[in-house]
Subunit: 179 residues, 2 copies
DNA sequence: GATAATTGTTATGGACCATATCAAATATAG
DNA sequence: CTATATTTGATATGGTCCATAACAATTATC
Protein backbone atom coordinates (compact mmCIF):
# COMPACT_ATOMS: atom_id res chain seq x y z
CA UNK A 1 0.00 0.00 0.00
CA UNK A 2 0.86 3.67 -0.24
CA UNK A 3 1.69 3.03 -3.84
CA UNK A 4 2.67 5.98 -5.98
CA UNK A 5 3.14 9.50 -4.84
CA UNK A 6 2.16 11.32 -8.00
CA UNK A 7 0.43 8.65 -10.01
CA UNK A 8 -3.26 9.46 -10.28
CA UNK A 9 -3.16 13.16 -9.83
CA UNK A 10 -5.48 14.16 -12.63
CA UNK A 11 -8.27 11.77 -11.72
CA UNK A 12 -9.08 13.62 -8.57
CA UNK A 13 -11.13 16.69 -9.18
CA UNK A 14 -12.35 16.29 -12.74
CA UNK A 15 -14.20 13.16 -13.75
CA UNK A 16 -14.59 10.05 -11.55
CA UNK A 17 -18.17 10.48 -10.40
CA UNK A 18 -18.75 10.16 -6.66
CA UNK A 19 -19.89 6.55 -7.02
CA UNK A 20 -20.50 5.02 -3.61
CA UNK A 21 -19.36 6.78 -0.49
CA UNK A 22 -17.09 3.92 0.45
CA UNK A 23 -14.90 4.79 -2.49
CA UNK A 24 -14.37 8.25 -1.17
CA UNK A 25 -13.35 7.02 2.24
CA UNK A 26 -11.04 4.39 0.84
CA UNK A 27 -9.10 6.87 -1.22
CA UNK A 28 -8.92 9.39 1.55
CA UNK A 29 -5.60 8.31 2.94
CA UNK A 30 -4.11 7.66 -0.46
CA UNK A 31 -5.34 10.50 -2.59
CA UNK A 32 -4.54 13.22 -0.08
CA UNK A 33 -1.01 14.33 0.52
CA UNK A 34 0.45 10.90 1.08
CA UNK A 35 4.03 11.98 0.79
CA UNK A 36 6.64 9.80 2.40
CA UNK A 37 4.52 7.43 4.48
CA UNK A 38 4.40 8.24 8.15
CA UNK A 39 5.38 5.86 10.92
CA UNK A 40 2.30 4.38 12.51
CA UNK A 41 4.27 3.36 15.58
CA UNK A 42 2.22 2.10 18.49
CA UNK A 43 -0.93 2.85 16.58
CA UNK A 44 -0.66 -0.42 14.67
CA UNK A 45 -0.79 -2.25 18.00
CA UNK A 46 -3.86 -0.45 19.25
CA UNK A 47 -6.79 -2.80 19.24
CA UNK A 48 -9.38 -0.07 18.77
CA UNK A 49 -7.57 1.46 15.86
CA UNK A 50 -7.10 -1.73 13.91
CA UNK A 51 -10.58 -2.92 14.81
CA UNK A 52 -12.20 0.20 13.43
CA UNK A 53 -10.21 0.12 10.23
CA UNK A 54 -10.90 -3.56 9.69
CA UNK A 55 -14.58 -2.97 10.29
CA UNK A 56 -14.69 -0.19 7.73
CA UNK A 57 -12.98 -2.37 5.16
CA UNK A 58 -15.31 -5.28 5.80
CA UNK A 59 -18.43 -3.12 5.55
CA UNK A 60 -17.11 -1.55 2.39
CA UNK A 61 -16.55 -4.94 0.85
CA UNK A 62 -19.95 -6.10 2.04
CA UNK A 63 -21.64 -3.19 0.31
CA UNK A 64 -19.82 -3.95 -2.92
CA UNK A 65 -20.86 -7.59 -2.77
CA UNK A 66 -24.45 -6.57 -2.10
CA UNK A 67 -24.59 -3.84 -4.70
CA UNK A 68 -26.94 -5.86 -6.90
CA UNK A 69 -29.36 -6.40 -4.02
CA UNK A 70 -28.92 -3.00 -2.43
CA UNK A 71 -28.65 -4.36 1.09
CA UNK A 72 -26.68 -2.68 3.85
CA UNK A 73 -25.18 -4.70 6.69
CA UNK A 74 -27.92 -3.47 9.01
CA UNK A 75 -30.67 -4.40 6.57
CA UNK A 76 -29.14 -7.81 5.99
CA UNK A 77 -28.96 -8.43 9.73
CA UNK A 78 -32.62 -7.54 10.11
CA UNK A 79 -33.66 -9.93 7.38
CA UNK A 80 -31.53 -12.70 8.87
CA UNK A 81 -32.96 -12.17 12.33
CA UNK A 82 -36.57 -11.96 11.17
CA UNK A 83 -36.14 -15.12 9.16
CA UNK A 84 -34.70 -16.95 12.15
CA UNK A 85 -37.29 -15.51 14.55
CA UNK A 86 -40.57 -15.03 12.73
CA UNK A 87 -43.45 -13.57 14.66
CA UNK A 88 -41.44 -11.25 16.86
CA UNK A 89 -42.26 -7.58 17.15
CA UNK A 90 -40.18 -4.52 16.32
CA UNK A 91 -38.92 -3.96 19.84
CA UNK A 92 -37.57 -7.48 20.10
CA UNK A 93 -35.86 -7.51 16.74
CA UNK A 94 -34.43 -4.03 17.15
CA UNK A 95 -33.14 -4.57 20.67
CA UNK A 96 -31.27 -7.77 19.93
CA UNK A 97 -29.55 -5.95 17.09
CA UNK A 98 -28.64 -3.06 19.37
CA UNK A 99 -30.87 -0.71 17.41
CA UNK A 100 -33.01 1.72 19.35
CA UNK A 101 -36.71 1.56 18.61
CA UNK A 102 -37.00 5.06 17.13
CA UNK A 103 -34.14 4.39 14.73
CA UNK A 104 -35.61 1.07 13.72
CA UNK A 105 -38.73 2.63 12.25
CA UNK A 106 -37.10 4.15 9.19
CA UNK A 107 -35.08 1.02 8.64
CA UNK A 108 -38.25 -1.06 8.58
CA UNK A 109 -40.07 1.50 6.45
CA UNK A 110 -37.39 0.97 3.86
CA UNK A 111 -37.56 -2.83 3.91
CA UNK A 112 -41.34 -2.74 3.87
CA UNK A 113 -41.49 -0.28 0.97
CA UNK A 114 -39.32 -2.68 -0.99
CA UNK A 115 -41.67 -5.53 -0.11
CA UNK A 116 -38.95 -7.47 1.69
CA UNK A 117 -40.55 -7.40 5.12
CA UNK A 118 -44.06 -6.85 6.44
CA UNK A 119 -45.53 -5.47 9.65
CA UNK A 120 -48.60 -7.31 10.86
CA UNK A 121 -50.72 -6.07 13.73
CA UNK A 122 -50.63 -8.67 16.45
CA UNK A 123 -54.00 -10.07 17.50
CA UNK A 124 -52.77 -10.75 21.02
CA UNK A 125 -51.36 -7.31 21.62
CA UNK A 126 -52.69 -4.77 19.19
CA UNK A 127 -49.94 -2.34 20.06
CA UNK A 128 -47.18 -4.42 18.54
CA UNK A 129 -46.25 -5.16 14.97
CA UNK A 130 -45.28 -8.72 14.18
CA UNK A 131 -42.51 -8.93 11.64
CA UNK A 132 -42.29 -11.46 8.86
CA UNK A 133 -40.40 -11.78 5.61
CA UNK A 134 -42.38 -11.57 2.43
CA UNK A 135 -41.84 -14.12 -0.30
CA UNK A 136 -39.72 -11.61 -2.08
CA UNK A 137 -37.85 -11.00 1.15
CA UNK A 138 -37.11 -14.67 1.52
CA UNK A 139 -35.92 -14.90 -2.05
CA UNK A 140 -33.72 -11.85 -1.73
CA UNK A 141 -32.28 -13.11 1.52
CA UNK A 142 -31.42 -16.43 -0.08
CA UNK A 143 -29.60 -14.65 -2.86
CA UNK A 144 -27.92 -12.36 -0.34
CA UNK A 145 -26.63 -15.29 1.65
CA UNK A 146 -25.13 -16.80 -1.46
CA UNK A 147 -23.43 -13.55 -2.36
CA UNK A 148 -22.04 -13.20 1.14
CA UNK A 149 -20.76 -16.76 1.13
CA UNK A 150 -19.19 -16.72 -2.30
CA UNK A 151 -17.91 -13.17 -2.50
CA UNK A 152 -17.51 -11.96 1.05
CA UNK A 153 -16.56 -14.85 3.28
CA UNK A 154 -14.66 -16.62 0.55
CA UNK A 155 -12.39 -13.63 0.27
CA UNK A 156 -11.75 -13.68 3.97
CA UNK A 157 -10.89 -17.35 3.76
CA UNK A 158 -8.41 -16.63 1.02
CA UNK A 159 -6.82 -13.98 3.17
CA UNK A 160 -6.69 -15.73 6.53
CA UNK A 161 -7.45 -19.37 5.93
CA UNK A 162 -10.48 -21.24 7.18
CA UNK A 163 -9.15 -22.02 10.64
CA UNK A 164 -7.94 -18.51 11.30
CA UNK A 165 -11.22 -17.07 10.10
CA UNK A 166 -13.14 -19.16 12.58
CA UNK A 167 -10.74 -18.27 15.37
CA UNK A 168 -11.11 -14.61 14.50
CA UNK A 169 -14.88 -14.69 14.67
CA UNK A 170 -14.78 -16.55 17.94
CA UNK A 171 -12.45 -14.00 19.49
CA UNK A 172 -14.53 -11.10 18.25
CA UNK A 173 -17.67 -12.72 19.64
CA UNK A 174 -15.97 -13.10 22.95
CA UNK A 175 -15.06 -9.44 22.96
CA UNK A 176 -18.54 -8.41 21.90
CA UNK A 177 -20.16 -10.46 24.63
CA UNK A 178 -17.76 -10.37 27.55
CA UNK A 179 -15.66 -7.27 27.27
CA UNK B 1 -25.69 -12.22 28.88
CA UNK B 2 -29.39 -11.51 28.47
CA UNK B 3 -29.68 -11.75 32.19
CA UNK B 4 -33.02 -11.05 33.77
CA UNK B 5 -36.27 -10.42 32.02
CA UNK B 6 -37.92 -8.07 34.46
CA UNK B 7 -35.12 -7.13 36.80
CA UNK B 8 -34.34 -3.45 36.41
CA UNK B 9 -37.63 -2.21 35.20
CA UNK B 10 -37.96 0.88 37.37
CA UNK B 11 -34.54 2.29 36.59
CA UNK B 12 -35.45 3.16 33.06
CA UNK B 13 -37.41 6.34 32.74
CA UNK B 14 -37.03 7.99 36.11
CA UNK B 15 -33.60 8.65 37.57
CA UNK B 16 -30.34 7.30 36.11
CA UNK B 17 -28.96 10.44 34.52
CA UNK B 18 -27.83 10.11 30.89
CA UNK B 19 -24.18 9.72 31.94
CA UNK B 20 -22.05 8.96 28.89
CA UNK B 21 -23.65 7.97 25.65
CA UNK B 22 -21.97 4.60 25.69
CA UNK B 23 -24.07 3.61 28.65
CA UNK B 24 -27.21 4.26 26.70
CA UNK B 25 -26.12 2.12 23.81
CA UNK B 26 -24.95 -0.68 26.04
CA UNK B 27 -28.26 -0.98 27.79
CA UNK B 28 -30.22 -0.72 24.59
CA UNK B 29 -30.44 -4.42 23.92
CA UNK B 30 -31.00 -5.31 27.54
CA UNK B 31 -33.32 -2.64 28.83
CA UNK B 32 -35.73 -2.83 25.94
CA UNK B 33 -38.18 -5.65 25.62
CA UNK B 34 -35.67 -8.45 25.89
CA UNK B 35 -38.23 -11.12 26.47
CA UNK B 36 -37.18 -14.69 25.74
CA UNK B 37 -33.87 -14.19 23.95
CA UNK B 38 -34.05 -14.50 20.20
CA UNK B 39 -31.99 -16.90 18.16
CA UNK B 40 -29.11 -15.09 16.51
CA UNK B 41 -28.65 -17.89 14.02
CA UNK B 42 -26.26 -17.18 11.18
CA UNK B 43 -25.81 -13.66 12.47
CA UNK B 44 -23.26 -14.80 15.03
CA UNK B 45 -21.13 -16.13 12.17
CA UNK B 46 -21.27 -12.93 10.16
CA UNK B 47 -17.91 -11.25 10.28
CA UNK B 48 -19.28 -7.76 9.82
CA UNK B 49 -21.83 -8.15 12.56
CA UNK B 50 -19.44 -9.44 15.17
CA UNK B 51 -16.75 -6.99 14.08
CA UNK B 52 -19.02 -4.02 14.55
CA UNK B 53 -20.25 -5.15 17.93
CA UNK B 54 -16.74 -5.88 19.14
CA UNK B 55 -15.60 -2.49 17.94
CA UNK B 56 -18.39 -0.75 19.82
CA UNK B 57 -17.52 -2.60 23.00
CA UNK B 58 -13.84 -1.81 22.67
CA UNK B 59 -14.46 1.89 22.04
CA UNK B 60 -16.86 1.99 24.94
CA UNK B 61 -14.27 0.48 27.23
CA UNK B 62 -11.61 2.80 25.87
CA UNK B 63 -13.72 5.83 26.71
CA UNK B 64 -14.27 4.59 30.24
CA UNK B 65 -10.55 4.02 30.73
CA UNK B 66 -9.83 7.49 29.38
CA UNK B 67 -12.54 9.25 31.31
CA UNK B 68 -10.03 11.00 33.56
CA UNK B 69 -8.11 12.34 30.55
CA UNK B 70 -11.14 12.98 28.34
CA UNK B 71 -9.56 11.46 25.26
CA UNK B 72 -11.54 9.79 22.50
CA UNK B 73 -9.99 7.05 20.38
CA UNK B 74 -9.60 9.51 17.50
CA UNK B 75 -7.92 12.11 19.70
CA UNK B 76 -5.61 9.50 21.18
CA UNK B 77 -4.62 8.31 17.71
CA UNK B 78 -3.81 11.86 16.68
CA UNK B 79 -1.58 12.40 19.69
CA UNK B 80 0.17 9.09 19.10
CA UNK B 81 0.78 9.85 15.46
CA UNK B 82 2.00 13.39 16.04
CA UNK B 83 4.37 12.17 18.72
CA UNK B 84 5.78 9.54 16.39
CA UNK B 85 5.93 11.91 13.40
CA UNK B 86 6.67 15.40 14.65
CA UNK B 87 6.85 18.15 12.10
CA UNK B 88 4.22 16.83 9.75
CA UNK B 89 1.34 18.97 8.60
CA UNK B 90 -2.39 18.52 9.03
CA UNK B 91 -2.95 16.89 5.68
CA UNK B 92 -0.37 14.22 6.33
CA UNK B 93 -1.54 13.37 9.83
CA UNK B 94 -5.19 13.41 8.88
CA UNK B 95 -4.80 11.32 5.75
CA UNK B 96 -2.86 8.52 7.39
CA UNK B 97 -5.60 8.31 9.97
CA UNK B 98 -8.26 8.18 7.28
CA UNK B 99 -9.65 11.52 8.41
CA UNK B 100 -10.66 14.00 5.75
CA UNK B 101 -9.04 17.42 6.02
CA UNK B 102 -12.23 19.37 6.68
CA UNK B 103 -13.17 17.05 9.53
CA UNK B 104 -9.70 17.22 10.99
CA UNK B 105 -9.94 20.94 11.66
CA UNK B 106 -12.40 20.75 14.53
CA UNK B 107 -10.56 17.78 15.99
CA UNK B 108 -7.35 19.79 16.06
CA UNK B 109 -9.13 22.89 17.35
CA UNK B 110 -10.16 20.83 20.31
CA UNK B 111 -6.70 19.44 21.04
CA UNK B 112 -5.15 22.86 20.58
CA UNK B 113 -7.66 24.58 22.83
CA UNK B 114 -6.74 22.10 25.54
CA UNK B 115 -3.06 22.86 24.96
CA UNK B 116 -2.24 19.30 23.97
CA UNK B 117 -1.17 20.03 20.43
CA UNK B 118 0.03 23.11 18.57
CA UNK B 119 -0.13 24.30 14.98
CA UNK B 120 3.00 26.04 13.79
CA UNK B 121 3.21 27.82 10.47
CA UNK B 122 5.87 26.13 8.38
CA UNK B 123 8.70 28.35 7.20
CA UNK B 124 9.27 26.23 4.10
CA UNK B 125 5.67 26.21 2.99
CA UNK B 126 3.67 28.95 4.62
CA UNK B 127 0.42 27.29 3.63
CA UNK B 128 0.86 24.33 5.93
CA UNK B 129 0.63 23.96 9.66
CA UNK B 130 3.28 21.84 11.31
CA UNK B 131 1.92 19.80 14.18
CA UNK B 132 3.72 19.19 17.43
CA UNK B 133 2.76 18.04 20.89
CA UNK B 134 2.99 20.57 23.66
CA UNK B 135 4.67 19.64 26.92
CA UNK B 136 1.27 19.11 28.40
CA UNK B 137 0.35 17.02 25.38
CA UNK B 138 3.36 14.80 25.89
CA UNK B 139 2.57 14.40 29.56
CA UNK B 140 -1.06 13.59 28.90
CA UNK B 141 -0.12 11.12 26.20
CA UNK B 142 2.26 9.37 28.57
CA UNK B 143 -0.50 9.03 31.12
CA UNK B 144 -2.92 7.93 28.44
CA UNK B 145 -0.59 5.18 27.28
CA UNK B 146 -0.31 3.88 30.82
CA UNK B 147 -4.07 3.86 31.22
CA UNK B 148 -4.49 2.02 27.95
CA UNK B 149 -1.87 -0.53 28.88
CA UNK B 150 -3.04 -1.22 32.40
CA UNK B 151 -6.79 -0.89 32.01
CA UNK B 152 -7.56 -1.52 28.38
CA UNK B 153 -5.08 -3.97 26.95
CA UNK B 154 -4.69 -5.81 30.21
CA UNK B 155 -8.36 -6.58 30.15
CA UNK B 156 -8.08 -7.94 26.66
CA UNK B 157 -5.20 -10.13 27.75
CA UNK B 158 -7.28 -11.49 30.60
CA UNK B 159 -10.04 -12.30 28.16
CA UNK B 160 -8.07 -13.81 25.30
CA UNK B 161 -4.57 -14.45 26.53
CA UNK B 162 -1.44 -12.74 25.31
CA UNK B 163 -0.85 -14.97 22.30
CA UNK B 164 -4.41 -14.80 21.08
CA UNK B 165 -4.47 -11.04 21.53
CA UNK B 166 -1.44 -10.67 19.28
CA UNK B 167 -2.90 -13.06 16.73
CA UNK B 168 -6.13 -11.09 16.74
CA UNK B 169 -4.42 -7.79 16.10
CA UNK B 170 -2.36 -9.29 13.34
CA UNK B 171 -5.42 -10.68 11.60
CA UNK B 172 -7.29 -7.41 11.93
CA UNK B 173 -4.32 -5.54 10.51
CA UNK B 174 -4.26 -7.91 7.60
CA UNK B 175 -7.93 -7.27 6.94
CA UNK B 176 -7.50 -3.52 7.31
CA UNK B 177 -4.59 -3.46 4.87
CA UNK B 178 -5.31 -6.18 2.34
CA UNK B 179 -9.03 -6.77 2.24
C1' DG C 1 -62.08 1.88 36.74
C1' DA C 2 -57.93 5.00 37.52
C1' DT C 3 -53.09 4.79 36.96
C1' DA C 4 -48.90 2.93 35.18
C1' DA C 5 -46.36 0.67 31.62
C1' DT C 6 -45.51 -0.79 26.78
C1' DT C 7 -45.45 -0.29 21.56
C1' DG C 8 -44.69 2.10 17.57
C1' DT C 9 -43.91 6.64 16.08
C1' DT C 10 -42.36 11.53 15.43
C1' DA C 11 -39.41 15.22 16.38
C1' DT C 12 -35.04 16.71 17.52
C1' DG C 13 -30.17 17.23 18.52
C1' DG C 14 -25.44 15.42 18.45
C1' DA C 15 -21.49 12.98 16.40
C1' DC C 16 -19.26 11.53 12.40
C1' DC C 17 -18.51 11.48 7.44
C1' DA C 18 -18.24 13.40 2.73
C1' DT C 19 -18.35 17.10 -0.85
C1' DA C 20 -17.98 21.73 -2.67
C1' DT C 21 -15.86 25.92 -2.25
C1' DC C 22 -12.75 29.56 -0.70
C1' DA C 23 -8.36 32.54 0.19
C1' DA C 24 -3.64 32.25 0.72
C1' DA C 25 0.50 30.27 -0.72
C1' DT C 26 3.14 27.59 -3.78
C1' DA C 27 4.23 25.03 -7.99
C1' DT C 28 4.23 24.74 -12.88
C1' DA C 29 3.60 26.02 -17.82
C1' DG C 30 4.45 29.03 -21.51
C1' DC D 1 8.68 36.28 -15.41
C1' DT D 2 3.91 35.98 -15.64
C1' DA D 3 -0.41 33.36 -16.02
C1' DT D 4 -2.46 29.22 -14.67
C1' DA D 5 -2.92 25.21 -11.87
C1' DT D 6 -2.30 22.96 -7.53
C1' DT D 7 -1.97 22.54 -2.60
C1' DT D 8 -3.21 23.76 2.31
C1' DG D 9 -6.13 24.90 5.90
C1' DA D 10 -10.65 26.38 6.57
C1' DT D 11 -15.86 27.09 6.24
C1' DA D 12 -20.33 25.75 4.95
C1' DT D 13 -23.40 22.24 4.09
C1' DG D 14 -25.82 17.86 3.67
C1' DG D 15 -26.16 12.91 4.82
C1' DT D 16 -26.19 9.12 7.95
C1' DC D 17 -26.22 7.08 12.30
C1' DC D 18 -27.09 7.31 17.22
C1' DA D 19 -29.58 8.89 21.40
C1' DT D 20 -33.34 11.19 24.10
C1' DA D 21 -37.91 13.18 24.88
C1' DA D 22 -42.52 13.08 24.04
C1' DC D 23 -46.96 11.34 22.11
C1' DA D 24 -51.34 8.34 21.01
C1' DA D 25 -53.00 3.87 21.21
C1' DT D 26 -53.15 -0.15 23.71
C1' DT D 27 -52.46 -3.12 27.54
C1' DA D 28 -51.21 -4.24 32.35
C1' DT D 29 -51.72 -3.31 37.16
C1' DC D 30 -53.65 -1.59 41.34
Amino acid sequence: MTVSKTADKTAEKSSEKPADTAKGRKDAAEAQGAAEALQLGELSEQLGYVLKRAQLKVFENFLRCMASLQLTPAQFSVLLLVEKNPGRNQTEIASTLGILRPNFVALLDNLESRDLCARIRSTNDRRSHILVLTDKGKAVLTRAKKLVATKHEARLNDLLGQANREALIEMLSKIANEF
